[in-house]
Structures are given as C-alpha cells and as structure tokens.
C-alpha cells in the first residue's frame, strides 16, 4: 500500500547540549511505515542545529517566542499553513504548549491537527502542584515548597535537610547544599523562569524515566522505561538504556488511566535503594530521548501523528530491553547563505 503523504510541523530543533525533542521526533516520524512525511521545521533561533542538518527538514520557518503573545505565534503558524498546508503539528517545548493548547480548536478549524493534553491535565502536573498531584493520584512525591522570596528559605529549612533541589517552573534544576546556594540558585532561576521557584526535598536513589503516550481515554499507547547512564552537567542524558521494570510500567499505566492523559509525556522518577519510586517531575511532551523508544520498537512520534489524525491506534506493549542510546556532538559545516536566509527572510 502506498504511504499517505503528510506534512508535519515540528518545533524544538535545538539539538544542543540541552537538546530539544524536535530532531528525534522527526527521525521517528520519517521511519513511519504509513506516512511519507514532509517536514516543516519551526524555530525560534537562527542557530538551532536542526535548521542545518541534512535530511531532517524540507522547509524551515522562524516563529515568534510565545512570550510575544499567543496570538502572534498562532498567526505566524496560520501564515505558514497557508503556504505549506500543515497536517499535524507537534510542539516540543513546555513553554509553548500553553499557547498551542489554548488554540487547539482554532488550529484544527484551519486543518492543523495536534494531540495535546488538556489545560487541566497540563496544569495539575506543574512542578508547584506536584504535592497535590501525588496525593490525588496516589503517587509518592518528594516534599516541596514554593518560594516567592528568599525570605521563605528559613521556612524551607524547617521542613527539609540539605541538600535540596531548586527548580524553575519550566526548566532548570540545581542541587543546593546550603542557604547561600539556595539564594544564588533562587535568583538565577527566578530571573529566567519567574516565580515560584520550587524547592524539593532531595530523594537519594537512581534517576529513572519513562516515556509514554496516552490516548486521552485512559489507554497507554506506548511506554518505555529508561535509566540515564551518563548525565551531563546540565542534568541531561548523554547515554541511556531501556529497562525491564514492571513497577515503572504499572505506575505509568495507572497514571495515564487515572488522568486520561492525552499526548506524549515523560515521567521522571527516583528509585530509592529500598525499591520505592518517587515521582519528581512530569514533562507534558515527548522528551529528547524519544528515539531510544523508536529504536526499542515503539515509534511514539508515528503513533502520536496517527492519534492526532483520529486513527485507531492499538497499544504497543513490547519493546527491546537493554537497547541503548549514546549522544554525540558533531560540527556541521554551513554555507553563509543558509544562515543569511533564516536571519533575513525568516524562512528557508
């Protein structure tokens, strides 16, 4: 059967040492057995490596940051859509999700399909809501306190011993071992991501993650657990391996079933030496290590596209255990014309 032609728009082409999920999402989508994919790369910066990588995007368009306002962003997407006829859009940044969720219907009316969590689902898993989330859904979470000012540090010290994890609303997490470090990190994070700054109790153990896809009806369409084998100074996985951990799978299926999660997600967990699992974060989108899941047998980008188009997608229950990914860095040699085109024309 001939493959169905499809135009896919993707953000997050920043394949840096803090990589966005865009490029691996595209790699997965291009391996689809059902779609012949044409890729529209949507970028915020003119040096996002995905712009210059061969065989990744067919067209590139620069879009305005969501901080410029949702309308401006969506209008730009509509303008690109008039030219390129986007079938499916996969946003890959936490910070832009709100704008796309809010405008889901508007995008659909113009023919752009997305598959995103609802605003309620998105908001209840936010880092400053995690304690409530854990209580509501019966998951262990570390104790946390939301800081609006450094004056609250003493309140935090009454609750937790050092070290603690200091986190931004959207990104960034640092370990702090004393009051001075909490203060420094508080200022650094609040300047970048605003308030509150979240201080989380430090749970000792091994960090493990699950990538998953929920169909919005309570079914887990895909789930692959992974352990980071090499972590960069930014806390990002530079290598990872798929695990055979039924408890992690059960936890994932339970959360997706109870929350009826719609879309891609990543559960970040700490497994203690006693074998307990603490949920430390839920990322409401496909993570950057998605290509490991594709390599292990679950093509999550392909399944997400099908769900966005309203196809009936059966849960994938098998994956290869012990599959690894190892990232690498490489220098792309780029002609100035390409850089000039994206800088001046905002498209290539």
């Amino acid at each position: 059967m001939p493959k169905q032609k499809l135009t896919l728009a993707v953000t997050g082409l920043n394949n840096t040492d803090n990589p966005g999920p865009g490029v691996p999402v595209i790699r997965g989508a291009k391996e689809s057995e059902d779609f012949d994919i044409r890729v529209i790369g949507l970028v915020y910066e003119n040096l996002e490596p995905g712009i210059y990588m061969e065989g990744i995007c067919d067209r590139i368009f620069q879009i305005p940051y969501p901080s410029s306002g949702s309308d401006e962003l969506i209008e730009r997407i509509e303008q690109i859509h008039q030219q390129e006829k986007i079938d499916v859009l996969i946003p890959n940044f936490d910070a832009e999700l709100f704008s796309f969720m809010k405008n889901e219907q508007r995008l659909l009316d113009s023919g752009i399909h997305t598959f995103l969590p609802s605003l309620k689902q998105f908001q209840e898993r936010e880092k400053d809501q995690l304690a409530k989330y854990g209580e509501k859904y019966g998951v262990k979470v570390p104790g946390s306190i939301n800081l609006g000012s450094v004056g609250q540090i003493s309140e935090m010290e009454d609750k937790f011993d050092y070290p603690v994890m200091v986190k931004g609303q959207f990104y960034d997490a640092y370990e702090a071992n004393n009051e001075e470090q909490v203060k420094q990190t508080f200022h650094k994070i609040s300047a970048k991501w605003g308030f509150p700054v979240i201080v989380q109790e430090f749970v000792k153990g091994t960090e493990v993650n699950v990538i998953a896809l929920g169909d919005g009806k309570g079914n887990t369409i895909a789930a692959v657990p992974m352990r980071k084998q090499y972590i960069t100074d930014k806390g990002k996985a530079w290598g990872g391996i798929t695990l055979a951990d039924e408890k992690m799978m059960e936890l994932t299926r339970m959360l997706i079933q109870k929350t009826k999660w719609k879309g891609g997600m990543e559960l970040e967990l700490i497994k203690t030496f006693g074998g307990e699992y603490f949920l430390i974060e839920i990322n409401p989108r496909i993570p950057a290590w998605v290509y490991l899941a594709v390599g292990a047998g679950q093509n999550i980008p392909d399944a997400l596209i099908k769900l966005a188009l309203g196809w009936d997608v059966k849960p994938m229950t098998e994956y290869k255990i012990g599959k690894m990914f190892v990232r690498y860095s490489s220098d792309l040699i780029v002609d100035l014309e390409k850089f000039a085109a994206i800088s001046m024309n905002k498209e290539i």
């Binding site: 091994t206 493990v208 992974m226 352990r227 084998q229 391996i241 695990l243 055979a244 951990d245 497994k271 255990i321 012990g322």
Partner: protein, 87 residues
C-alpha cells in the same frame, strides 16, 4: 538462591541487570563463580569445582565466594537472603 531472571550473563563476562540498567565486567574466575551460582549449586559443589580448576586454597575460595555473594546481593543480581543460608 537463584540469579534473578532480569540478569543476562554473556560468555565474555559481561553481566547486565535489565531491571536496574547496571552492568558489570567479570574476570574469568568471577564468571565461573556466577555461572555455578546460576546453576543453583550449593557452596560445597562450587568450592570443589573451583579447587579443581584453579590453583587456590580452600580458605581463599570460601572468603572470595562470600564476598562475591554479598556483592551480587547488593547489586540485586540475586534476591536478598542470608549468605549463610546459601544451599
């Protein structure tokens, strides 16, 4: 006491725990030991095999065996239990 089912042992001495993601490199002596344990043999049988194959005394075998056993337990390669109860 058995090696847990998530453990994969390669003939070159590479051991992978698919539940935790940990991996280990064993020397030929360690590989021989873990293979004997995987066959669910008791300590006396393992000691006899090792004494026959390697130039080592009784006491060293016993000491090495229990140290190795404790390491296997620590890394969840075998289920927790008292090494002295080992059959």
């Amino acid at each position: 006491m058995k090696i847990t089912e998530e453990i994969k042992i390669s003939d070159n001495g590479f051991v992978f725990n698919s539940k935790t993601g940990d991996s280990f490199n064993l020397n030929p002596f360690g590989l021989e030991l873990i293979k004997q344990i995987a066959e669910d043999k008791d300590f006396e049988s393992i000691r006899d095999v090792m004494l026959e194959k390697y130039d080592v005394d009784d006491l060293t075998i016993e000491k090495d065996f229990y140290e190795f056993y404790a390491l296997l337990k620590y890394h969840q390669i075998i289920a927790p239990g008292d090494p002295l109860d080992f059959k």
